[in-house]
């Protein structure tokens, strides 16, 4: 995690992944939470993202991402604090924004089987991709914090953000 106290280049890294038009569409919104950002990314990509809370993911796994030909799935551990679940969702969203390849399944594949596939794949460490997704997760949370305040992060009750400021903070004001 690289929050405001780290201020690394990663916090401005979203500009490399999302076009300014993406944030222009967000300006009409009155709140900004992780879930809403997921919806906006889905709308921007014209590809639905479905979030699934799953109890007792395999050991060491708190979140996972799979894809079918026409949609993405973010699966996250249900039995974990909300802030941790949101962080996990932001991390998986980071994978999607960065365009990392996902395990492709069919709509008929049972979720537990998909999870088992992910678990097998996660044992083969992909450090760079994980670091990139983590940096993007931190970038999302940092600006969520800076624009919408603590309640957006800790209680999912965002106050009305100034989207132009958000875009500016993300380096998307051009």
């Amino acid at each position: 995690m690289f929050f405001a106290i780290h201020q690394s280049n990663h916090t401005l890294a979203l500009r490399n992944y999302l076009p300014p038009q993406f944030f222009q569409t967000l300006r009409s919104s009155t709140t900004f939470t992780i879930d809403q950002l997921i919806d906006e990314v889905a709308r921007w990509r014209s590809r639905p993202i479905v979030t699934i809370a799953w109890r007792n993911l395999p050991l060491g796994l708190f979140g996972a991402r799979v894809a079918t030909p026409d949609r993405d799935y973010i699966i996250f551990e249900a039995h974990t604090p909300r802030v941790h679940a949101d962080h996990t969702k932001a991390h998986e969203l980071g994978h999607i924004i960065a365009g990392h390849p996902a395990i492709v399944i069919t709509e008929e594949t049972p979720i537990d089987e998909a999870i088992s596939l992910i678990h097998k794949r996660s044992t083969r460490t992909q450090t760079y991709q994980e670091e990139e997704a983590e940096a993007l997760a931190s970038a999302i949370q940092t600006y969520l914090l800076q624009q919408c305040g603590w309640n957006a992060l800790t209680h999912r009750t965002a106050t009305a953000p100034v989207w132009s400021d958000l875009a500016f903070g993300l380096g998307l004001d051009k």
Partner: protein, 349 residues
């Protein structure tokens, strides 16, 4: 160079009038008058209270300059104080409407007390029998504060959710508790004086004064930004303490798992302790499943405790408090090391 006579009284009265005028301008400027009837009444009544305080200071100054008899000074002060407390009670009725039932009784009793005080004090310039009037005045103020003012502010305190306003209400309550203490002490003093017993009451007066003056100044004279600042400072130190504990828990977990703990720059932590707490909390929950596999008894104990608070239904604040508690308990969770014993052999038997 010597200061003019009654310089202190003059400066006090002057400052109080400046404050009253400033307060009136602030009441007009902040839009309280236009908000609704209740806000308008509260603003006007509160301004009336400040006006009474400034008026009392002015009357005191005039009395000293004209060298008026002491009974006039005391009765004037008492009547203005009664008027001030009636206005305070009016503000309290806005805060706790159920207390309005006593309103007429309170006003009548206030008027009656004013007359009795003036008569008893006027009847005896040396204040020997005048103490009855003083005791009546003090008992009246005690009743108003204990039965109306404190309950109303306490009710507002319970209903208020914003920490700066809660702190301000608590400070107001403390001011009035000090007034109650002062009045009770004074009543006892006067009644005992009537039957010829003197006791040293200075300690209780000092406690009441030391409580009342700073709490009154901060609660009634300082702007809201002061309380916002105090609350922020308090939260800053609370976050720093929470981080201190949670960080120690995270380091313990990382030591048990033989992995490096998260690096955080000290300057960053001191600037944004709230963020540091958030990051440490996520780092700990990221390791929750791994710590469950660690065979160390301490790791198992920590894992069980983490499992208990991992529910998404629990609030963030509760989880932070619980992590800090687990960190504090680590000392107790740590298994007592077995004392090294020398094996019993035939040689050392």
């Amino acid at each position: 160079m010597t200061l003019p006579q009654h310089f202190t009284e003059f400066i006090s009265a002057f400052l109080l009038w400046v404050f009253v005028l400033w307060r009136f301008a602030a009441t007009i400027r902040n839009g309280s008058m236009a908000r609704n009837h209740s806000a308008r009444r509260q603003a006007l009544f509160m301004w009336g209270v400040y006006f009474c305080i400034a008026l009392a200071a002015t009357l005191l100054l005039i009395s000293k300059l004209t060298q008026s008899p002491i009974w006039i000074v005391v009765s004037e002060r008492s009547i203005v104080a009664i008027a001030g407390y009636l206005l305070t009670a009016a503000v309290c009725y806005e805060l706790a409407p159920e207390l309005r039932a006593y309103r007429k009784i309170l006003i009548l009793a206030g008027a009656l007390a004013s007359v009795v005080i003036t008569l008893t004090l006027a009847a005896d310039e040396s204040l020997h029998t005048g103490v009855i009037g003083l005791a009546i005045f003090e008992y009246y103020i005690f009743l108003v504060v204990a039965r109306v003012v404190i309950p109303a502010f306490a009710k507002s305190f319970e209903q208020e959710i914003h920490p700066p306003m809660r702190l301000r209400l608590l400070t107001m309550i403390l001011t009035h508790v000090a007034v109650v203490l002062w009045m009770l002490n004074s009543i006892t003093d006067h009644l005992l004086h009537l039957i010829g017993i003197n006791y040293d009451e200075s300690l209780l007066y000092t406690i009441a004064l030391v409580t009342a003056v700073p709490t009154f100044i901060s609660a009634y004279l300082l702007p809201a930004a002061y309380f916002v600042g105090v609350v922020r400072l308090w939260e800053y130190f609370c976050n720093l303490m929470a981080f201190w504990h949670i960080r120690s828990l995270e380091k313990t977990i990382c030591r048990l798992l033989e992995k490096p703990s998260m690096t955080l720059p000290l300057i960053g932590v001191l600037r944004f302790p709230q963020e540091a707490v958030y990051m440490s909390l996520i780092a700990i929950f990221d390791l929750r499943k791994r710590i469950a596999l660690c065979p160390d008894p301490l790791a198992q104990a920590i894992s069980r405790r983490l499992e208990d608070i991992a529910s998404p239904d629990l609030s963030y604040e509760y989880q932070v408090r619980s992590l800090a508690t687990i960190a504090r308990d680590i000392t107790w969770l740590r298994p007592t090391p077995t004392p090294a014993t020398t094996p019993l052999t035939l040689e050392n038997e």
